[in-house]
C-alpha cells in the first residue's frame, strides 16, 4: 500500500483512536504517544491490512489493547490520578456551577468507571458506533456490551444526581 493510500484510510480514524486513548490513559501526552505508536504499527503491518475488511474496527481494537497494556505496565507507577472524593462532604459545592465544572465532574466520574465500561461508553455515547462495531472492537458478546453500557450510563447519572441534590440541599 502506498503512503498516501494508507493516510487516506487512517485519517478518518485517527481522532477516534486518540479519543479512546485519552479516555483510557487520561494524559494527553500519553494518548498522543499511544496513537502515534499504533499508527506506525499499522503502517509496518500494512500488507496485512488488506485482509482486514474493516480497518476502523481493527485500528480501534489495536489501540484499545495497546492502552490496556500500557495501563497494566504502569499500574505500579500509579498513573491514574482519579478523584475518589465525590462523597466527601467536607467539600462545599458552589451554587452557581459553571458548565465547565460540571463537565469536569463527568470527566472524573467516567475516569472512575471500570475499564470495560469506560471503553463501551466511549465507543457508544461519544463515538456513536453501532453495536456490531463495538462487539468487534471489544471482542465482547452483544449482551455483555449492553450490560456494560447500561451500568456505565446509570452510574454516571446516579453520581450526577447525587451531586446535584447535594448541591441543592446544602445551599
Amino acid at each position: 500500500m502506498k503512503q498516501q493510500a494508507f493516510l487516506d484510510k487512517i485519517n478518518p480514524v485517527k481522532d477516534k483512536m486518540y479519543r479512546l486513548a485519552l479516555r483510557l490513559l487520561v494524559s494527553k501526552e500519553a494518548a498522543e504517544d499511544a496513537t502515534q505508536e499504533v499508527i506506525l504499527k499499522l503502517w509496518n503491518r500494512k500488507h496485512k491490512i488488506k485482509d482486514y475488511t474493516n480497518l476502523e474496527a481493527f485500528a480501534m481494537m489495536v489501540i484499545k489493547n495497546h492502552c490496556l497494556d500500557e495501563l497494566k505496565a504502569k499500574k505500579n507507577n500509579n498513573l491514574r490520578i482519579v478523584h475518589q472524593n465525590y462523597e466527601n462532604k467536607s467539600i462545599s459545592p458552589q451554587r452557581d456551577l459553571e458548565l465547565k465544572d460540571e463537565m469536569n465532574w463527568i470527566q472524573d466520574i467516567v475516569a472512575d468507571l471500570p475499564e470495560q465500561q469506560k471503553i463501551v461508553f466511549q465507543l457508544r455515547d461519544i463515538e456513536q458506533l453501532d453495536f456490531e462495531e463495538i462487539e468487534e472492537i471489544t471482542k465482547m458478546k452483544s449482551t455483555a456490551v449492553r450490560v456494560a453500557l447500561s451500568r456505565a450510563r446509570k452510574k454516571i447519572r446516579e453520581r450526577l444526581t447525587n451531586k446535584h441534590d447535594y448541591g441543592i440541599t446544602k445551599n
Binding site: D15, Y18, R23, Q36, I39, I156, T161
Partner: protein, 150 residues
C-alpha cells in the same frame, strides 16, 4: 416531542437498549430544550458526549519511507538490463557462425564429403531416436489382444 416519550426513551437508554437513531433524538431534545431538575443529569451527559467528540489528534503523522520496496525496484531494474544484454548477444552469435561455415568449404569433393557426413549423422541420430520408440509396439501388441483383425 412530548415529555412522556422522552422519558420512555430515557428508560431504554439507561438499559442500554436505544438505537443510534433514538439516541440522536434524545441528543437533539436535550440540546434544544430546558429540562426539569430531574432530567438535568441526562442533559449534562449528552452535552459531555458532544464535547468529548470534539477532541482531535493534531500530531503530524510521519511514516518512515519504505526501504524494502526501493530495494526490490533496483533489483528488478538490474535484472531486466542483464536480460536485455544477454538476449542481444545470444541472438547475434549463431547467425555469424553459420555464414562462416558456408563460405569456408570451397572444394566440391570436400563439400560433398561434409554433407554426406552431416546427413549420416542425422540419420544415425534419427535411428537412435527410433530405437527409443520401440516400446510403442507394445501398444499394438496389447491392442491386438482385444481387437481381432481377421
Amino acid at each position: 416531542m412530548e415529555l412522556q416519550k422522552i422519558k420512555d426513551l430515557l428508560e431504554k437508554y439507561d438499559a442500554g437498549e436505544t438505537s443510534l437513531a433514538e439516541e440522536q433524538q434524545l441528543r437533539k431534545y436535550f440540546e434544544r430544550n430546558e429540562v426539569s431538575e430531574s432530567l438535568k443529569p441526562y442533559q449534562l451527559m449528552f452535552a459531555f458526549s458532544a464535547k468529548e467528540n470534539q477532541e482531535s489528534y493534531d500530531r503530524e503523522i510521519n511514516l518512515p519511507a519504505n526501504k524494502k520496496e526501493n530495494r526490490y525496484l533496483w533489483t528488478a531494474m538490474a535484472a531486466s538490463i542483464i536480460l536485455v544484454i544477454g538476449l542481444f548477444f545470444f541472438q547475434n552469435k549463431p547467425l555469424e557462425m553459420n555464414d562462416k561455415d558456408v563460405s569456408t568449404i570451397q572444394d566440391r569433393e570436400e563439400a560433398l564429403q561434409k554433407s554426406m557426413e552431416a546427413l549420416k549423422m542425422v540419420s544415425e541420430i534419427m535411428n537412435e531416436g527410433k530405437q527409443d520408440l520401440k516400446y510403442l509396439k507394445e501398444f499394438n501388441n496389447t491392442k491386438n489382444k482385444f481387437i481381432k483383425t481377421e
